[in-house]
Symmetry: C3
């Protein structure tokens, strides 16, 4: 069972809390027990499970990544495009997270939520929620 | 099928080999073929699959992460808490790993084990092992 | 259902596009709906989902990782081996990726492919493709 939703990002780099959108899908289509994989279908964006209650955590992650992969750095991929740093950041965080489904709900700790990270926006990003029994 | 165990960490930052605890659960509850997801239910800790035979590998990872996300760095989240660096490190490594189950056992290479990383200890950390057929 | 293949890497550090090898296995053994986990069974290599159309993206990732974990850095693990940096890089990217299977095929965005990263080559690397319904 696979459902999709879109997110309109609003900045070049941004973290967006998608926990509620995923929970709504899981509540509607997930089995009692299983797994939900949340995957962004692009290679300059990422999905991360961490605390979303303070939006500044996403901004802190973006700042740390910017030191790791600066926008301008004589990247080889920039010879044909201008977003090498976005690919490097997305490779580091990865496009998806798997979350267990227990009693029909996502198994997340009290302070765990689901972030979508945008590294080459603003764009329309397509996210898949793939639920397995 | 979901089992839980707790780990009492002993330092602010630490890597703990949890391979045997996970294997014991898998041996007891896993089907012949399936997957096991090992997930820490906190956002300042992480689960990683790498070599655990030399504990210094965990320490080397901690040192590399410390350069990536120094404890003091004018983090925005530190305005309301003092553990932004812990969230950044945990976001990078991720809270969970999925490991295939083959012939009733975890499919791991000879030198692969399972680390729990603590980034904001000492604390009691809850780990879920979620087994699917 | 688990299939294996080997990759002969050719350099100390390298990114290799394994998308077609994984797709061939999925086409042959995957159910109509499920998941495929692609896992390298070594702790100095990694699997990443990102754009593989431009090989320079892999090289850019390698360069960013080299700044994060330089080959020579007084690593503790280097007291008994000489590949601590390889373990640190592999820990960061992780040994596996899960990809949903929808209509019998890998669910990947237009620009998403599957990289095998080598951090301690050249070696023969064993990759498992574990398919679940």
């Amino acid at each position: 069972m696979t459902e999709y939703f879109e997110v309109e990002t609003e900045a070049a780099e941004q973290s967006i809390d998608i926990t509620e959108r995923v929970k709504e899908i899981v509540k509607r289509v997930a089995p009692e027990t299983g797994t939900a994989q949340i995957m962004v279908l692009h290679s300059t964006a990422a999905v991360v499970v961490n605390e979303t209650a303070d939006p500044n955590i996403g901004k802190d992650v973006l700042r740390a990544l910017d030191a790791f992969a600066p926008r301008r750095n004589d990247w080889l991929h920039d010879r044909i495009d201008d977003n090498a740093h976005s690919h490097v950041k997305a490779s580091l965080l990865g496009p998806s997270e798997v979350v267990p489904v227990v009693s029909g709900e996502l198994l997340l700790g009290t302070w765990q939520g689901i972030w979508l990270f945008e590294f080459d926006g603003p764009r329309t990003r397509r996210v898949a929620v793939h639920v397995s029994a």
